[in-house]
């Protein structure tokens, strides 16, 4: 590789967008060429200056409300009209009762076998995602902003009937940034907020109903990765837009905090 080619490839090299063969050629060239090393340094210097979250512009507070009110409104009266046109014949009422009873019995029977555990899990997953999205939108990410696990943990005492495990994994790139109370699956839960680079991870914790440990199971929907596990008497639901691999790493840390 000559200098011209190295110049052409240097940005893709920095951005990890180059195939392996070209990456090796660029590396070899850089080892021997002082001029191109200088170029690499200059690119890195620019990159370092831009890699600062403050360079971005923050969304003005009023914009969310403005957009929500500008979007076309869902009009319930249209639905009600169509509903009144639907006339129920008198003889169908007892049939409907019978059908309802049959279906209920059927579901109860199936559920004994645990057939619906999975769909139950994915409905919690949906709630977990919604709660995550709300927390990002509503400027209500924390009740207690703190990077100190010894501040966050006592804060939950007296607010919840349980004391959730709280750990900071800043040295592994998952920084604890705070905690808040949330409401999920019909109960009050602890929400811990972690930051992975520019991304937020919400970790929801509540006591398990059974003492059974559950290995981490992942769900993925609408660009969010959700991971669920149960460990030492607690249910854990982690949700974020970070990639599945990072989520796994996060769960592994939670499972072995020491």
């Amino acid at each position: 590789m000559n200098c011209q080619e190295c110049h052409d490839y240097i940005d893709a090299y920095i951005d990890n967008e180059l195939d392996i063969a070209s990456t090796i050629l660029v590396k070899q060239h850089l080892r021997d060429c002082f001029g191109c090393q200088q170029l690499l340094e200059s690119r890195k210097a620019v990159g370092a200056l831009l890699d600062n979250p403050q360079v971005r512009f923050e969304v003005p507070d009023s914009l969310l409300g403005r957009i929500q009110s500008a979007l076309p409104v869902f009009r319930p009266e249209v639905k009600q009209q169509s509903r009144t046109r639907f006339v129920i014949p008198w003889f169908s009422i007892p049939l409907a009762f019978a059908a309802t009873i049959a279906v209920t019995l059927g579901l109860a029977f199936l559920n004994q076998g645990g057939v619906f555990d999975r769909s139950h899990g994915s409905s919690i997953a949906q709630d977990v995602i919604s709660s995550h999205v709300r927390s990002l939108l509503a400027t209500h990410l924390f009740d207690v902003p703190s990077t100190d696990q010894h501040t966050v943990k006592p804060w939950f005492d007296g607010k919840l009937k349980f004391s959730p495990p709280v750990h900071d994994f800043a040295e592994h790139g998952f920084r604890l940034t705070g905690g808040r109370l949330d409401y999920l699956n019909g109960r009050e839960v602890a929400a811990l907020v972690y930051q992975r680079r520019l991304h937020i991870i919400n970790l929801f914790i509540w006591p398990s109903e059974s003492s059974r440990n559950i290995v981490a199971t992942s769900f993925s929907k609408d660009g969010y990765n959700v991971l669920h596990w149960a460990h030492e008497g607690f249910e854990f639901w982690a949700v974020s837009d970070v990639n599945a691999e990072d989520m796994r790493a996060f769960a592994d840390l939670e499972l072995q905090p020491s």
Partner: protein
């Protein structure tokens, strides 16, 4: 899917992208008022075209393309002329590899100085820098958002970074005087 479900789904997918949409719009329009208008217009357009969004495809790239095109439409003639000049200049790649002045960038360059340097870039260069460095998009995603080929993404990014380096090192020399 009924109206209410569509609206809920739209909000779940797209409202979390507001920070990305605003940041891109703010950098393209260069002022807060226009940036907000463009984000609002983009949401309305996205809502209208939501039917064309395919489940499982890249929602962020899909929406940022709408934001980008909305901003470009508003920028209109003035910037299109500027763009033409740039396309001519783009053919000239040899000058680009001339040695860089041997200065080191101050690690403490203020956020203001960095913002000024990005703002000084022509819109096409600014766009790729913002999408890559501030939004963290891959080259493929940048190509999707801006509608320019991968090779052009790469060469614009190279030229933009070089210009940023020159702008920021000039600034440092001025500061020292």
């Amino acid at each position: 899917m009924n109206d209410e479900q569509t609206r809920t789904r739209f909000e779940t997918l797209l409202l979390p992208l507001m920070k990305d949409a605003y940041n891109l719009s703010r950098w393209l329009m260069k002022n807060q008022e226009d940036a907000e208008d463009m984000v609002q217009e983009s949401y309305l357009r996205a809502y209208r075209f939501f039917g064309t969004f395919h489940e499982g495809s890249n929602c962020r790239a899909w929406f940022l393309r709408i934001v980008r095109n909305t901003c470009y439409t508003a920028l209109g003639d003035h910037d299109l002329k500027q763009k033409q000049v740039l396309l001519d200049a783009e053919a000239d790649e040899i000058e680009d590899t001339s040695p860089l002045p041997p200065v080191t960038l101050s690690k403490k360059a203020t956020v203001e100085a960095v913002r000024e340097a990005i703002a000084a870039l022509p819109v096409d260069f600014r766009e790729v820098v913002v999408l890559r460095e501030l939004e963290g998009l891959s080259y493929k995603e940048i190509s999707e958002v801006s509608g320019i080929p991968l090779g052009t993404v790469m060469s614009r990014l190279a030229r933009a970074r070089r210009q940023l380096y020159l702008l920021l090192s000039d600034r440092k020399q001025h500061d020292q005087l």
